[in-house]
């Protein structure tokens, strides 16, 4: 073949491989003041509900209009694109990252560490409700005395179950299982009698590592631990993670109660659960409920129970938090925090606004009164519940077993450093146990421990 052809082929090889990543390298840029000298400011925000959820979109748009009327110098451009690490990176590089980010609680440590979010201490501390925010969540949003985010909602892991399938299997839908032994027994009964998946499990897109972490906590384990010199090491290669994996293995291969399809992510399981094909699974019940309803799920079939326990009385807790992009100007930061207060905080502490919001939501057919783990104090949450009581349209009694458990458990946060990388390293462990009947759990845990220690060492350096 001729030299020229060879060069052309080399170019063919190089271009697609490199151009993709190089697109990220064009420097920071963007984010310069969008204020135009006359005091007006435009901010781009995340958190608009999905277009398919028309009722929620209508309420959101009314809130934006009211906010802009109250703050005529601020214009809001909202996006319904959910948080996605991969799009955030490229948008940041292209200068089009949103001013206000809405992210899960696993993200803030890395975003703060990488300098991708702004210090909002000065504006946040002026909020009426700032001092009342739950310190359990705020500890992840503060670093070296500076504040980088505000929680929108918090959650704790619990068991979600299908009350119909419980009845068909001869189980009491008002008494969901409380221990993992009971879960195993119930799951087998459901799959034996109904032919459906007794207990749904997920294992891709870091969800396997996420669930292993949550289950490990319920057996008293921890994923990582910090030495006195501040360094972190893997702590999961002990009895508790082993117990979790043994239980999965037994349910998958001995009981055959986990179904055939174990290689999915949370969205896949929500769809299967809404379709009535799954008896039980672990997630954050208040978070999943609106998606379940929006997808056409029957409110009366949805049940929420306590996080099943292996003896530790602990559950994984997380939150959705709001942060401001590092490229935002001072005016944009102030506008973003004002909006956070307007949309996320006020309906929780200002009882008049709470009632108005609940009334409007109920009129739109949105779920009102889903029991949650509060972002403010218990007293504030009680007052809020009283204020919205007449508009509650969620069968709250279906959540009673979950709510009753919330005070009983210790809330354990997700790993404080490199959580997503740790989850990614643990996904293959979970997948191996769920897809290979001969998986060697000890060897898998040893490998994962080495890998996670490597990640933690790289993170520290």
């Amino acid at each position: 073949m001729h030299q020229r052809t060879r060069c052309a082929l080399a170019a063919l090889v190089l271009v697609p491989v490199l151009a993709g990543t190089a697109a990220c390298s064009s420097g920071g840029g963007g984010g310069e003041a969008s204020g135009d000298g006359d005091g007006t400011v435009t901010i781009t925000i995340m958190g608009k509900p999905a277009a398919t959820n028309t009722a929620a979109v209508a309420l959101f748009e009314r809130q934006v209009a009211a906010f802009e009327e109250a703050n005529p110098h601020i214009t809001i451009e909202a996006s319904d694109v959910p948080w996605d690490a991969k799009t955030f990176a490229t948008r940041l590089a292209g200068g089009s990252a949103p001013t206000l980010l809405r992210v899960p609680l696993t993200e803030p440590p890395a975003l703060i560490e990488r300098g991708q979010v702004a210090d909002i201490s000065d504006v946040a501390s002026e909020l009426d409700s700032f001092d009342d925010l739950n310190p359990r969540v705020m500890q992840f949003l503060e670093s070296d005395g500076a504040v980088y985010g505000i929680p929108e909602k918090s959650y704790a892991f619990g068991l979600v179950y299908n009350r119909d399938l419980f009845e068909q299997a001869g189980l009491d839908p008002d008494s969901p299982p409380e221990t993992w032994d009971e879960v195993r027994e119930y799951a087998k009964k459901i799959s034996d009698t109904t032919g459906k998946t007794g207990f749904g499990e997920i294992s891709t897109n870091n969800s396997g590592g996420w669930h292993l972490t949550g289950y490990d906590y319920s057996f008293g384990g921890r994923m990582i631990e910090q030495a006195s010199d501040g360094t972190w090491t893997a702590a999961f290669n002990d009895g508790s993670a082993h117990d979790v994996l043994e239980m999965w293995k037994a349910m998958r291969w001995e009981d055959d109660s986990l179904g055939d399809n174990v290689l999915g992510k949370q969205e896949d399981l929500v769809a299967e659960f809404t379709a009535g094909n799954v008896g039980m699974w672990v997630t954050a019940p208040p978070d999943v409920y609106p998606n379940y309803i929006a997808a056409g799920g029957d409110p009366d079939v949805f049940g929420a129970g306590p996080m099943p326990q292996g003896g530790a009385d602990a559950t994984l807790a997380g939150a959705t938090v709001l942060m401001v992009s590092a490229t935002a100007t001072q005016a944009e930061k102030e506008a973003a925090v004002k909006w956070i207060d307007w949309r996320a905080l006020r309906p929780n502490y200002d009882l008049e606004v709470a009632a108005e919001t609940a009334e409007a939501s109920a009129a739109d057919g949105l779920p009102v009164g889903v029991p949650v783990a509060p972002i403010f104090s218990e007293e504030a949450y009680e007052a809020y519940r009283d204020a919205i009581a007449e508009y509650v349209n969620v069968p709250v009694e279906n959540f009673a077993p979950y709510v009753g458990s919330l005070d009983a458990f210790e809330y354990v946060p997700e790993p404080a450093v490199a959580s997503q990388e740790i989850y990614a390293a643990l996904d293959p462990v979970v997948q191996a146990v769920l897809t290979d009947p001969n998986a060697d759990i000890d060897a898998l845990l040893d490998d994962a421990e080495t890998r996670v220690n490597q990640i933690l060492a790289q993170n520290a350096s």
Binding site: L9, L12, L18, A19, A22, S25, A89
Partner: protein, 319 residues
């Protein structure tokens, strides 16, 4: 390497200075110089666009392989640290082996299938156009859609589409994507299905170039269809087969959509490929430096593979 306009100009002016030049020669040299300038002017927009959108990002990405950046602050030079992190990652060897396995499988399945289909279709007396449309149809479907469609087909359990078909002949059900052994072959089937149409069309075009006289002569000599294919069709098409084979190797090594959408590298890392690793480093862990370092390594490997391949097959292709 092609001659740059500067080289051309230098070459012509150098020759002009060497000896007394007859008038006609000067005229010809001047014309050539003018032609070079005119060529450059016509080429300029293409060069600028190509340079800015293709070669400049490539140069930048090579630089980024030696940097650490958060895309907000200025990038920081870290020397070979990104490569060190990469080589300390035990997943790298696994991903490299998986990528190799995918490439071998996709050559074993993906090369003969379109060639066989094309030869078969060229032998069709009727319905050739319909066969071409049907063969090319999968290429028109957006990759993510077709991959998601196959994900449904590969659904495990007896109710899965493919497993239902297997049940008709008393086989299965097989855990297609849920088994570490079967997951990669399943992805190869999808990749072949979605990519074969293009190769078939190219082979069909090449087949029209095969001299009909050779077939007629062979028929007079009493050659069977199989003999005609082996002794006339395949040797006549060796150039195009060679190029498509190389393109297939390059494409297979860069496989991404199928493992990303269907398995996310699972189960138990059985389908993690090099490109999936690059993606995870860049967009999941936010470590763009390491991701680019791996991209550069992959590009080097591909250039090397291409060079070796072309050297090994040179005699065959020009015979």
């Amino acid at each position: 390497m092609t001659m740059t306009p500067e080289r051309l100009r230098g070459a012509t002016s150098g020759r002009a200075a060497q000896a007394p030049v007859p008038p006609a020669r000067t005229r010809r040299g001047g014309t050539r110089r003018q032609a070079a300038w005119a060529g450059l002017i016509f080429l300029a927009p293409t060069l600028i666009i190509f340079g800015y959108f293709a070669w400049w990002p490539i140069a930048q990405s090579v630089v980024l392989a030696f940097q650490q950046t958060n895309l907000v602050d200025p990038a920081e030079w870290v020397g070979f640290r990104n490569f060190e992190i990469l080589f300390a990652d035990p997943l790298l060897s696994r991903a490299a082996l998986n990528t190799l396995w995918f490439t071998v499988l996709s050559l074993a399945i993906g090369l003969p299938v379109p060639l066989f289909c094309a030869v078969l279709m060229s032998e069709l007396r009727r319905g050739g156009t319909l066969a071409r449309v049907l063969a090319y149809l999968p290429v028109v479907i957006p990759p993510v859609v077709s991959v998601l469609l196959w994900k449904v087909f590969f659904s495990p359990g007896e109710s899965g589409v493919i497993n239902s078909l297997l049940a008709l002949v008393g086989l299965g059900p097989l855990p297609w994507l849920q088994s570490p052994e079967l997951a990669m072959p399943s992805l190869v089937i999808v990749a072949t299905w979605s990519g074969a149409g293009t190769a078939i069309l190219i082979y069909l075009a090449a087949l029209t170039g095969v001299s009909t006289e050779l077939y007629e002569a062979a028929e007079l000599d009493g050659a069977s269809v199989w003999q005609r294919i082996v002794h006339i069709t395949l040797p006549q098409m060796r150039g195009i087969i060679l190029v498509l084979l190389l393109l297939q190797i390059i494409g297979a090594i860069q496989v991404f959509t199928e493992p990303y959408v269907m398995t996310d590298g699972g189960p138990a890392n059985a389908t993690v490929t090099i490109l999936l690793m690059i993606y995870r480093y860049a967009f999941l862990f936010g470590n763009y430096g390491v991701a680019t370092a791996l991209s550069v390594l992959l590009a080097l490997v591909l250039v090397l593979v291409s060079a070796i391949y072309l050297r090994l097959t040179r005699s065959w292709s020009t015979r």
